[in-house]
Symmetry: C2
Subunit: 385 residues, 2 copies
């Protein structure tokens, strides 16, 4: 049985996007690749709403994060990294690996920083040089809804702003230039419904100036900039993934329309939160921080999270995720990313309801399904396949 | 017109391998991926003839080279890097980027080191810790035919041996264990006829012990080792490329047979060298160093290299390569990698002959084509598509 993915990445990839990869191989030093490169670059700039340089890295998201750090963090560089999940914690570790000094605060499980917290952190550490923050930490399902203001405060205080937007780009608005984001990192396998293996990174002019003579070659912004001028990558790129990303972005930006695509993510999130609540699943995240793209719940009071997860997989090949690290068996996470349809959402809710029933737990299934139905009627899915 | 690639990577990918990528997406933390991972890992170990750990990196070849350096080179680490082309030069630079001290000698254009040279270098630098050497530097088309003995000498002298075999793995024998290679780096897009975007690296136990607390997370051997135990990668892998590599290796190792596959590379190389010589192309590389996988020539005495390259592309969508760096307009390079057929070789020779004729240069075309024909009759291509 083919899997139905509700994991927070990789996500389901439409056959049309998969098929786009199966093109005869081309050289990465020729006109065909350069035109493919331009096409992807233009679309990513549109997606990020930026006029900054955008580089396409043959590496998954963590590679993109490492690129940002390798280009900007030297021994002793002071970096503010607010910690509110596994991915923000990983960034703090990566900064240390490169010799940086991490200034951090840990936030209560299921919450994250608001702009006042960041302002206070900056005030306490006037020598901080960089703010590196995760827009949406998928591990608890926490999304920072005032990321724009957080970045503004950092920028106003002279910090370089780096945003890890890997899990959310394409699923919620991003305005790199208006939001004062010097470096924004995204990846293909989350809300863009493209296979994993590529990440992209936008880099401001200020950062390009600062990131010379650094400690990496494979991720060197300087080299990427040099080759971007001729619409090439410094090293052999994952060509099939460029084709796939180009196709997915064409569907999202030109055929569906980006605004409508974002709205679908919002409506699906509402439908998921509501229908899960009707079935007595307890939201894990404080309401101010609930993510649009990862619905995180403490599970059902009468059924262990790991049991639900494994039965969904075994019986129906539906993949949801458990928690990471300390949250391993304590939460379940439902990804709401990319090309999910109302039929997929309905299927998930029905499958969860069926497994609850199997365990003798009766919830108001009709009401839960009805919620999905109403959303499906109001916001139809605009793509084929 | 679809391109016919004679570039030294990326190379033509059979439709069957391209198609293998177009599979429904799966999670990288589930049983299906683990079984795919095992399947690829087993085949790579077979290919490299090793019982060492093999890690699969979502990064192209240069990322693999950077991984080796990031895990082993610290400030002051003394590394012998013989330079005989762009790729060996890049390694020297990468070692310096990581703070290493490079011990090097440059070899005359179109030649490289033999075992006596390496022995002498080691004797002169008894404090050297690592030998990092390119098996086949595609930029001049130089292949080190006594790489096995070179590595033995280094190992006997207590050095760690790192071999960049990116451009040659699958095109010529590699015996990692018998040849005393601590770290071997390969990639998908050369002689394995798979799209670019993945590299693989075998790592000896000795090196695994030494590469702890190092300066990278994305390329950390320690993390790769930890996840390899459960047949996973530490970070999201380029899943479609795993499918493609698995399919290509299945064809190469099980259907064609690895011995026969290697023999085909040899026979095609002979046919290319001979037929090009008949048409008065001058080999660029000293005969002791001529590569099986990149046929490098100084071109035809009566036609500029760049003209031949661009006319082949414009008229027939056949891609060959020019030189890199100082050799830019001085040589042409014909890749002999992966799934090339006798028809492809015949087509290339015919197209070159036609372009020569167009320029009023008459060579013995019949003889050149006859050479290919003889080889084709003796060593038939054993795959479909």
């Amino acid at each position: 049985m083919d899997p139905l993915l509700f994991t927070p990445g990789p996500t389901n990839v439409p056959y049309r996007v998969l098929k786009a990869m199966a093109k005869p191989m081309i050289t990465h030093r020729g006109a065909t690749f350069r035109s493919l490169y331009s096409s992807v670059e233009d679309k990513i700039k549109q997606l990020l709403d930026t006029e900054n340089e955008v580089f396409l890295l043959t590496a998954s998201g963590t590679g993109g994060v490492e690129a940002a750090i390798a280009n900007l963090v030297k021994k002793g560089t002071k970096v503010i990294v607010p910690i509110f999940g596994t991915f923000s914690e990983r960034i703090a570790n990566a900064v240390k690996t490169y010799g940086g000094e991490v200034i951090t605060r840990k936030y209560k499980e299921g919450t994250g920083p608001v702009k006042e917290d960041i302002a206070a952190l900056i005030d306490e550490h006037l020598n901080a040089e960089i703010l590196f923050i995760v827009y949406n930490d998928t591990s608890p399902g926490v999304m920072l809804k005032d990321i724009d203001q957080i970045c503004k405060i950092a920028k106003d205080n002279g910090l370089i702003t780096i945003v890890d937007g890997i899990s959310i780009v394409g699923g919620a608005p991003v305005h790199v230039d208006a939001w004062n984001i010097d470096v924004f990192i995204g990846a293909t396998q989350k809300c863009l419904g493209t296979p994993p293996g590529l990440s992209f990174i936008s880099v401001s002019r200020e950062v390009l100036e600062k990131s010379k003579n650094i400690n990496t070659i494979y991720f060197s912004f300087e080299l990427f900039k040099k080759f971007a001028e001729k619409r090439e990558t410094p090293f052999t790129p994952a060509i099939p993934l460029f084709y796939a990303l180009d196709e997915a972005l064409k569907i999202i930006l030109s055929e569906i329309g980006y605004k409508r695509w974002l709205e679908l993510h919002e409506r699906r999130a509402e439908a998921l939160y509501k229908s899960l609540e009707v079935m007595n699943f307890i939201p894990f995240v404080h309401e101010n921080f609930r993510s649009v793209v990862v619905i995180s719940t403490s599970g059902h009071p009468s059924l262990e999270c790991p049991a639900l997860k494994s039965e969904l997989e075994k019986k129906y090949a539906i993949n949801i995720s458990g928690g990471l690290g300390e949250l391993k068996n304590k939460i379940i996470r439902v990804g709401n990313m990319g090309f999910l349809t109302w039929r997929d959402i309905l299927t998930l809710i029905a499958a969860i309801a069926e497994i609850l029933l199997e365990h003798g737990i009766e919830e108001d299934v009709s009401k839960a399904l009805g919620i999905i139905g109403n959303y499906a009627a109001k916001t139809p899915i605009p793509w084929d396949g």
